[in-house]
Amino acid sequence: MSRLWLPSVTLWQREVVRFLRQRNRVVGALGTPLVFWVLIGSGLRRSVVSAGSGDPIDYLQYSFPGIIVLILLFTAIFANISIIEDRREGFLQAVLASPASRSAVVLGKVLGSTTLALMQAVVFLALTPLAGMALSWLSVAASVGVLTIVALELSALGFVVAWPMDSTQGFHAVMNLVLMPMWLLSGAFFPAGGASPWIRWIMAANPLTYGMAALRHAMYAGTRAVDPALPSPAVCLTVTIAFSALVFGLAIRAVARKA
């Protein structure tokens, strides 16, 4: 067991410490989504979203949970991209040559990235009053719970994508072709209700749609009606937890396959 837990903890701790020491990373990770939200949200402010029969909602408010998920996605991408560089010329070389369990590499990285993502998401949650939303404590607790699962899901997904890659260019390609569209088509940017049928179909098949919807359920709990077209909380949680477990399993399998 000492080959799993102690290395996992040390790798997790390293992720967090080195993140906090790189001020530009902290600024970039929080600043980028904030700028996105303010610009897009303000630009589209008058475009009130009234999908399905839910209450019409201001776009700044509509996009707020979506931006929080974008923070989780960005963090997962940036934390995992280092795997590619570190393996040939960096810290990861020494980890792979050590007797530490390969699963510790996954645990350390995924838990590290999840922690970073959550720290930023919580800072962002504190900005809800700016979006004109009031969250109850129960709602905050539920949101943090959902964000934890989605952060784990995206971190593990980022790991699975990054691990077999030899170049960061390849990772950027996947990021632009898969990860960003996954976010765009999760209901973060626009609701499924107004989209063409084929887009709606993709959105229904997108696992992140369920994480996104779970976050809306959690954040709106008790304060506003949720778009009835969204999947139920039970479905959202089941799909999100199942997909997280799947990608985490894939990550463990990936490290066992390639040194």
């Binding site: 010329e89 020494a94 007797p99 530490a100």
Partner: protein, 320 residues
């Protein structure tokens, strides 16, 4: 005898999709040796290093370190080896001591034992005064010392170093080598280092010359140089192509064309010089006599120069 061999390679072979990197390599290294794995870039050294470091599975053959197979007993091999990579494996954003502690945790060390051992090694390698500094503030030489200290944390019996002197100036290189000698003398550590530098290999106890994936020779530097058995003469002349067959016809022996000069091996070089000059009056511009270097040994054993692509007029064709 077998018990004293800490590294045993048997018919080790590795193929990449498009080329063979190691061919049927067999050798033993006895404990407490500093062995240089010398060869030109692309000759298979790094492949061998990666196999020994358990980062690459060989296509065929076996490699054992401290009695453990690098493929079937990875965990035991990893615990027995300390690895220093060509590219830094330190986290630049963390302090020297933090890097040491993370490394220790990876090897199952923790608490007071880890702290004491870290301090002791940083002191021994002369970097304890910088232990609180982030690694990015350290010079290349100091970083390499921290790498070495880090690799020694878990008291490995074998150290593997990939091109350890890359980017280091000569004085630092020497100091680093001195530390390897100390480790050998104090703790009986065996060191295997890959290098493409002749002077570095020259200092090691034994040299394994690896060229085009094959083990060409394995011996001490002195013994290897005796293969040539005498001196090496380098002749410069206006028309080396014309002179070569004539010298060969007159005195026999193989003469090679290297960088536009003629290279002759003779048992007693100094005595041969006047004979040679008298035989071809006015045609020889200069003759230098030297003891054979590892460069000469490499040429003698492989038939081609160590650094083929350095330019100049040379006999052998670049190895494909």
């Amino acid at each position: 005898m077998a018990a004293a061999n800490i590294v045993e390679l048997s018919s080790l072979t590795h193929r990449y999709a498009d080329r063979v990197a190691l061919r049927d390599l067999t050798m033993d290294v006895s404990a407490g040796t500093i062995l240089a794995i010398l060869g030109p870039n692309g000759g298979g050294k790094t492949t061998l290093f990666r196999i020994l470091a358990t980062l690459l599975t060989p296509t065929a053959g076996t490699a054992r370190i401290a009695g453990h197979d690098v493929v079937t007993a990875q965990g035991a091999v990893r615990a027995a080896i300390g690895v220093v990579f060509q590219y830094p494996s330190l986290d630049e954003k963390l302090s020297v001591l933090e890097n040491m502690h993370h490394q220790g945790h990876l090897y199952g060390l923790s608490g007071a034992a880890l702290r004491t051992r870290s301090r002791e090694l940083l002191q021994r390698f002369g970097v304890d005064a910088r232990s609180g500094d982030t690694v990015e503030k350290l010079s290349g030489g100091l970083k390499r010392r921290v790498e070495l200290a880090k690799a020694m944390l878990h008291r490995p019996s074998v150290l593997l170093l990939d091109e350890p002197s890359t980017g280091l100036d000569p004085a630092v290189k020497l100091a680093l080598f001195q530390q390897l000698v100390e480790l050998k003398e104090r703790e009986g550590v065996t060191t295997l280092l890959t290098t493409h530098l002749m002077d570095e290999a020259d200092r090691c106890d034994r040299i394994a010359i690896v060229d085009q994936g094959k083990l060409v020779a394995l011996d001490s530097a002195a013994a290897l140089k005796q293969v040539i058995g005498g001196d090496v003469l380098t002749i410069t002349t206006a028309d080396p192509h014309a002179l070569r067959p004539r010298i060969e016809a007159r005195f026999g022996g193989a003469i090679t064309l290297v960088d536009g000069g003629l290279r002759v091996e003779r048992e007693c070089g100094a005595a041969f010089v006047p004979t040679l000059i008298e035989a071809f009056p006015g045609e020889i511009e200069s003759v230098t006599v030297g003891k054979p270097t590892l460069d000469d040994v490499f040429l003698h054993l492989t038939g081609h120069r160590f650094e083929e692509r350095r330019g100049g007029e040379t006999d052998a064709q670049p190895a494909g």
